[in-house]
Subunit: 196 residues, 2 copies
Amino acid sequence: MGRWKPGARERLERAALELFVEVGFAETTVPHITARAGLTTRTFFRHFADKREVLFARDEEIPALIARLMADAPASFGPMLVIAQGLETVAATRFEGQLAYLRTRRGIIEADEGLRERELRKLSVLAEAIRQGFRDRGLDELSAVLAAQLAVTVFTVTLSRWLDQNGERPLSELVHETLRALGSITADPAEQPHLA
Amino acid sequence: MGRWKPGARERLERAALELFVEVGFAETTVPHITARAGLTTRTFFRHFADKREVLFARDEEIPALIARLMADAPASFGPMLVIAQGLETVAATRFEGQLAYLRTRRGIIEADEGLRERELRKLSVLAEAIRQGFRDRGLDELSAVLAAQLAVTVFTVTLSRWLDQNGERPLSELVHETLRALGSITADPAEQPHLA
DNA sequence: CAAAATGACGACACGTCGTGTCATGACATT
DNA sequence: AATGTCATGACACGACGTGTCGTCATTTTG
């Protein structure tokens, strides 16, 4: 056999997640993780840029997936339809069946300021990918930025509600519920009321 | 006079901003900042939770300001109108006249991953305050979350465009431009097209 | 007026984070 | 068999952020 046991990265991720649940994220040190995984501290940082990244490494390829999805959507689809359809596809392929993991992960992230920051940064990267997707679909810059932010908002709100309800209601139903509520809000005129 | 020169916090902030511009955020160390301010490292962390916080301390009271603004808005105003009016007020009182500072600050933040993360976290806190404001105005939870995210999106997009154009166009004009674009996007139906 | 409480800061120690650098040994290539 | 590549170990190090205690001026209190 080799000099080292294989699957170093996987062992690191598993050890880290276990410790985050057992003793909390902040209380878990990198040496603690690597000790459990049978590796050294230096090796940890070769696989993950920092301690937080363990919880986000899995989502690395999502922006690329989104880009493909948006490029494949019919050219006749407007922004909201692209969002609705794209979100349902992502939900079906990446969330369904991951309920337990996603709830555990959310619990860890919500309990730590630094993790919340990193999560928001990842969503920002996602938004940038979506923005570029809309640009490629011909939208002007302002509309593309807004549509991308809308997409991320619908995404996070819907996912959050799905987890809240323990996955009891189907994701597609929640997506449309969110989109309907969004429509109601923006249907409200932003100009001064004439009766004022 | 006292044992120490007054205005320790102000001196720290000024020294930090100067150094961020001169040598970059990551390259600036806290001892470097405190040396220029004539203080010790420990004192820095008594005034700012961490190095990044220097760039965000000024915005500390914005969520409270927003809460007041939303409570004072006429009950007849719908969400979009509250957003439009509130954003114009905040813009007029906190951004006008700060163009140079805000552009410098943006440059520093955009150049550093960690600062981007912190900025997003601050916007998240802002969104939470706005969400609560909408709840207090009687909106249901889903609508309040969505409206709050919309408000933050309109806020950041508009401010970004204002800075891009060096403040040449009035903020109120840009606010309405953003809101019009948002309306165009959401007017697009999210349901399957009937002709499909 | 004197004594005690308060509050800002200095000084010091410490653990963790994250990186740079070099050595090592397994595997693949030729 | 020689060589290159790559993952890891081993070690050092600067920076970050915190705990703790002492100091001294200001404020409060009796």
